[in-house]
Symmetry: C2
Subunit: 229 residues, 2 copies
Amino acid sequence: MRDQVFDSRRGAISRLPLFRELSADEASQLISQVRELRLDKGQILFNKGDIPHGFFVVVEGRIQLAFPSEQGTERVLELIKPGESFGEALMFLDKAYPVFAQATQDSLVLDVPGHTMLGLLEKDSRLARKMLAGISMRMHELITNLETCSMRSSTQRVACMLQHQAPDKSLNEYEIELPAAKQTVASQLNLTPETFSRVLHVLSDAGLIEVSGRVIRVLDAEGLRRIEI
Amino acid sequence: MRDQVFDSRRGAISRLPLFRELSADEASQLISQVRELRLDKGQILFNKGDIPHGFFVVVEGRIQLAFPSEQGTERVLELIKPGESFGEALMFLDKAYPVFAQATQDSLVLDVPGHTMLGLLEKDSRLARKMLAGISMRMHELITNLETCSMRSSTQRVACMLQHQAPDKSLNEYEIELPAAKQTVASQLNLTPETFSRVLHVLSDAGLIEVSGRVIRVLDAEGLRRIEI
DNA sequence: CGCTAACTTGACAAATGTCAAAACATGTGG
DNA sequence: CCACATGTTTTGACATTTGTCAAGTTAGCG
């Protein structure tokens, strides 16, 4: 029974990009020190201001990182998908969580203690490089995100987001599926759901996109780029 | 003459947090491959969309990273001060610069080639850890920044910024100096200079702050926290 | 099939941006 | 040390965008 758990974790871990190339020894060390957490939809993993003890890897489900706000209005920063990790950056700093983390679906995450990871990093320069790459990637996305949010008008923000979601930047026509409920996407764009809804309508009327539920078909990417207001 | 240059670079490099604990060998390798760049005020170091070949360390002056915008309106993302570096994250990704970099004063920066740094990182796990810490720090600031910008009202944004600048979060009264011209700070808050000016006036009238030029004295941090609109 | 949550629509108020001009700094050269 | 030129900040009047509230519609799920 014990070995079964061990093996299933080994399987899960070896499938994670960050840990794919660990030696058998390293993997064993990691597995014995990692904790598995099952989260129900809506469950909070940590709150803003909590003290971090390590970082997390999402195996199944989806975790959202967000800023709380008095009136319950939250501002979603990012959605973490299976295979991705979060909270690494805080292992190297002496700071509290700047966001809270919540499962938006039933989820399974690994809780990797900080000292375990720091120990592995010291010995394995390839792992260090992977972690650097991972954090860098995250940072790049954050910047892209911030660029989108600093566009003046709501229409530009939505158009900008639609372009960033493109599977291939050279395509002029493509289809995307919003990564979350419209409310959530609106929040990421720093818009109210109402405004977001109206903007989608305007872009539809202009013949630039077609909306059906969460699926959006971009008909004229070039046109989206030219939007002035 | 050659040795003088070499020695001055060694001095500059050994004073940078990232490179402080390099071995003599490593330092020499670095020094011989690093390029010194002198930038005049206003000069562009790279444009958005350019291909990175390494990263930069600021020795003197100030470099701003910003998003361009059609009408010349730029959105300032961050200001890099002496001792800090930027562009590291892109060494690990295959992406173009998402921002442009410009000197806001006469500046001296070191251009560290990517392969040089990657070589050092492979051998020196302490350096890798420092770089992880550096990038993490940057990411944390970016998130703080993003939190500030997602506050609903302009007044809250400014109040939030004033709190983040506090030398000690427990103080209820303190003095700060804006890190740049008001225009620039406004841009970082995603506000027009006009709105920023008006907000400062409102906070002054409310007796929460005192403004004199770039120096702002916060009289009631608790009051800033309570701002609703 | 009914319940809840998500989304859309409309009418309205309020906050913020825009434009233009004036006041204020700052630095340069005589 | 002054006068001028340049750049920055402030102020005012105004238009516009976006958020708010409330109600209606649709969709998803047990």
